[in-house]
C-alpha cells in the first residue's frame, strides 16, 4: 500500500536562502513505519495525476496556513489577517483527483477544514480555548456519534483528544455528517463515506489505530 501525504509550507524568518520549506512531522514517519506503509509526500501540484496513480489514499496534514475566507465567500474577520501561504488550490486539486476515483481521503486539523471548504462548507475564523500547548497532557472530551467510522475505530462515545487549532468547521459541507463534537459544541469530526476529517492530531497521540483502521476500512 502507498499513501500520498501533503507536505506543508513554513517560513523561518532570517534563514534565507533556506527559510521556506515543505515539511512533514516526524510523527507520520513513525506511525507509517509501524503500519509498514510507504508514504509518498507531495509538494507540488505538477504531475499530481501520477502521484494519484501510485497511491491508494491521501492524507491532508495539519498546517500553519489557514484557508483564505474567499474560498468560502466570506470576508476576513477584523482580528485575523491572511498573509501566509495559500495552500488551498494545491490541496483542492489533490482532493479532487483522489475523490474522482473514489480513493479515501483523511484530513487532519487544517485538513478537515480544507475538506469542508472544498465540498462546500464554511469555517469559524476564530474560536477560543481549542489550542492546548501542553503536549498530550491537556486534552478535552469529545462525543463520538454511533454509526460512524470513528465509532468503529474507538468503540466508545466519549474520548479525550488533543487540540491545537483556532479555526473550525461552521456550516458542514453538503452530504457530510458530523461524527464528533466537543463539549463546547465545536465540530471535531466530519465524514462522508471514505472521506473523513478530524479536528485533532491523532498522529501526535501516536494513534496508529485510527490510521490503520482507516486504510483497512477504505482502501480497496
Amino acid at each position: 500500500m502507498r499513501i500520498a501525504i501533503i507536505e506543508r509550507l513554513d517560513k523561518e524568518e532570517g534563514e534565507a536562502p533556506f527559510e521556506v520549506t515543505y515539511y512533514l512531522n516526524n510523527y507520520y514517519k513513525e506511525i507509517f513505519d509501524k503500519l509498514d506503509i510507504l508514504l509518498i509526500p507531495v509538494i507540488s501540484e505538477n504531475r499530481l495525476e501520477e502521484v494519484f496513480e501510485l497511491c491508494d489514499g491521501l492524507i491532508l496534514t495539519g498546517g500553519k496556513n489557514d484557508v483564505y475566507p474567499k474560498y468560502y465567500n466570506e470576508e476576513p474577520i477584523k482580528e485575523r489577517t491572511y498573509d501566509t501561504f495559500d495552500e488551498f488550490p494545491f490541496v483542492k486539486k489533490a482532493v479532487e483527483i483522489f475523490n474522482k476515483a473514489g480513493k479515501p481521503i483523511l484530513g487532519i486539523c487544517a485538513g478537515i477544514q480544507e475538506l469542508n471548504v472544498i465540498f462546500g462548507g464554511t469555517l469559524n475564523q476564530s474560536i477560543p480555548n481549542h489550542s492546548f500547548k501542553k503536549y498530550n497532557i491537556d486534552k478535552h472530551e469529545i462525543e463520538i456519534k454511533k454509526d460512524s467510522f470513528l465509532y468503529k475505530v474507538y468503540n466508545t462515545e466519549n474520548m479525550k483528544v488533543n487540540t491545537y487549532h483556532s479555526q473550525s468547521v461552521k456550516n458542514v459541507a453538503p452530504n457530510f455528517k458530523v461524527t464528533a463534537v466537543s463539549k463546547d459544541g465545536v465540530i471535531e469530526a466530519i465524514e462522508n463515506g471514505n472521506i473523513v476529517g478530524v479536528q485533532w492530531h491523532p498522529e501526535a497521540m501516536y494513534d496508529t489505530k485510527l490510521f490503520g483502521e482507516f486504510f483497512k476500512t477504505f482502501v480497496k
Binding site: 520549506t21 515543505y22 509498514d36 510507504l38 508514504l39 509526500p41 507540488s44 505538477n46 503536549y135
Partner: protein, 217 residues
Amino acid sequence: MKVAIVGRLEDYEEDYPFNKRYTIDYPFREMFDVLNILIIPILSRINIEEIESMCDALILPGSAIGVDPKYYNDVPFPGKEYKYDEYKLDKEVIDLFVKAKKPILGICGGMQTLNVYFGGDLNQNVLNHQLEDNSKHKAKIMQDSFLYSVYQKEDIEINSFHRQAVRKLANNFKVTATSEDGIIEAIEYGNIIGVQWHPEALKDIEFFDKFFKTFVK
C-alpha cells in the same frame, strides 16, 4: 522523470509539539516544476526499494546536522553536536541507487555524506565558508569534468553555507572544483556527483537539467 530526495530532519523548538520535521527546501519544488520532474521525498527506510525502482535518480540535499564522525572513525569537534543520525537512512538509500547504477547528486551535507560513504572523511571545522545569502566566492573547475560540461569555463562563483568539508577524498573520486582557500568544492565519480555549494538556492536550473540529461538513462 521522477527523482527521489531524502528529507532532512530539523527541530523547530518553538513549534513544539510539532517541532521535529522532515523538510525539503522550497527551491527544489520551483526548479523541478520547471523541469517537469516529479519529486518523491524519502523519510523512512520502509519500502525504499519501491522508491528506488520508480525513480530515475537520487538527490541527497544539505543537512542541518552533518555526518556523525563515528562513521569515519573520528570524534566530534569540540562543541559540535550531532543531534539526529541521518547517515543510516542515507546509507541505505545510496546502497540501493548505487546497486541500480542510477545517478546520485549530493549537495553540501549530501556531498559530505557521499564522501564518507565511499571511504573518505571530513574536516569538521571549516572557517570562512558561511557566507550571507546572495554572497559568493570563487571556485576553480577542473576541465574534463561533469561540472565543466555544465559551465564551460574554469572560474565560477558560488554560494557557501557550510562548516564541514571533504578532508580525505573517497576512493575512486576526483576533485573537480576547489575554492581559492583550498576547500574541496566538488567531487565526481562517474554518475555520482557532489557539490559543496547550493545550486538550488541559486536557482541553477541549467546545472540540474544537465545532470539529469547527462546521467539519466
